[in-house]
Amino acid sequence: MAINTMKQVNQINLISFGITDKALLEILRAEIARIFSCKVNHKEARTELGQFFDGARRQYNADSLLQMVDQNYSKAESKTVGLFQVDLFIPILTYIFGQAYLNGSSAVASGYRLVDERYGIKTNRQNYPERFLKEVIHELGHNFGLIHCRNIGCVMQASTYVEDIDLKNADFCPVCRKQLEQ
């Protein structure tokens, strides 16, 4: 049976792949612990990412990365998220921010496309940690069996644009939270 309520999961593992920003990792760790009321572990991975690079698309294959995280880093009774800073794609889409196994135990998320500068806006870098955080919470939500939610502000709203991410909160709406905590 899938382990998909917060009561059944005793740990969330954040595995970072080449993320040097210590402050960011600490924000993610602390906030995710708070949102999911759960122990959160951080580990730096040493896996070489070259094999996941698609030369033709100049992007990294998120399906293979997700599989790799699931095989090499996930543990029983826990959820594991691989954190990246590279441009992710899946074969059918031009890019994705992240993805997860629905009701599974692994997810991946990348900060690559969450930076304002990529879109030529020189506004604030301050929104970057928050966007990354929302992305990670969202993917974890899928691991816990949540699907996209239409409640405005809910972190499980689908986001295909960075601005969509800014429009939602770094938390679940009451309906999603209830499902998480059942």
Partner: protein, 443 residues
Amino acid sequence: MKKNSILIVDDEASVRDSLYNWFLEDGFEVSCAEDASKALKILDHEHFDIILADIKMPGMDGLELLRRIKQIKPDAIIIIITAFATVDTAVQALKDGAFDYVTKPFDPDDLSHLIRNALRQVSLKEENETLRERVSALEQVEDIIGESQAVKKMLTEVEQVAQSNTSVIITGESGTGKELIAKAIHANSLRKFFPLVSVHCGALTESLLESELFGHEKGAFTGAVYTRKGRFEMADNGTIFLDEIATISSKMQVELLRVLESKSFVRVGGNKTITSDFRVICATNRDLKKMVNEGSFREDLYYRLNVVNINVPPLRERKDDIPLLVNYFIAKYCKSMSRPLVNMEAAAMKRLQDYDFPGNVRELENIIERAIVVGNGKEIKLRDLPLSKPVTLSKTESLNDLEKQHIAQVLTKYSWNISRAAQALGIDRVTLYNKIKKYDLKQ
């Protein structure tokens, strides 16, 4: 709620898997078939809201599949996936009755828009099939707290206006819940499948606002590596919420009026005209009519925006709602701080009900959040509230009191040196003597 269903037909396993996962996350019931004949077999005994089929498959291709399905089910919603080289055949697909086509790999945003369009088609179809009973209950308004007549009246107005396409202007003091009302209108409109896009006009400079609203082309200025859609474009089929509309410059007022009239615009640094079908909701804490009379807000824009006006009354005019809001915010913040639920002592509640709340619901929310942080974790006490004084003093009394206290302090500071105290107070010596007499101050 019933799940929507989709059938994915593609010979490439990686494409099927990607799409399978994507639609699963989006809440669909998903089935896959690796070729057209398997798809037809499944369709024999199962219904799908949407069918997504690749055009190029060994054996029967996507176009042939499309024709066969259409013969049996003329109103099936079929989307064709093409590779770049086969756009011509995609046009053929549309002629043969495909709902739409996408060229792979596609933008997540395009896929999501396409699917929402298709879902809207599905729901229209269902509406035609069974004359759906009118949805009288408002959706997604559970976080608008309040039982007062004022709140009930507002919700009735929301219900009346939501389903139409008219512009709405929401007026009210800061912190009264204008944005919340905008969300409720959108959530109850036919546009709810599409985004509600907010723009906080007051927070942006004129040039930023322009690129924010209209977007920019790749290379429009240094650092613009990707093309970026503006808010109007993002709001296509949805709603755009322009908060603090009174703050925009007169140049932006002209631009805005033009966009509202034509529903089209050009991205910064671009020349292609882009059209977008959006609904406008605005909010302001200013008296726009007055600004029109004073000449600081365009009259034509005002009338275009102000088709329907919903006024959100200040919290002090609906004090009955205060206890409900207090309990709601206590529950909200105890939960988000992972603390056990706390009570509020009667004296503290009484003080809140006597208070005027110049910052309205937002101020109340901040007060409760702070009280939970500083409190003892069991009960919120009067002393946990940052309200210095009950506002029961009449104005003259309080001002006189203040003056008396202040003069006494300044006199003490300068050891009753009248010249220096008068200088510090910015009044002449005679006036100071008179005040000392009036307030009966003594050394």
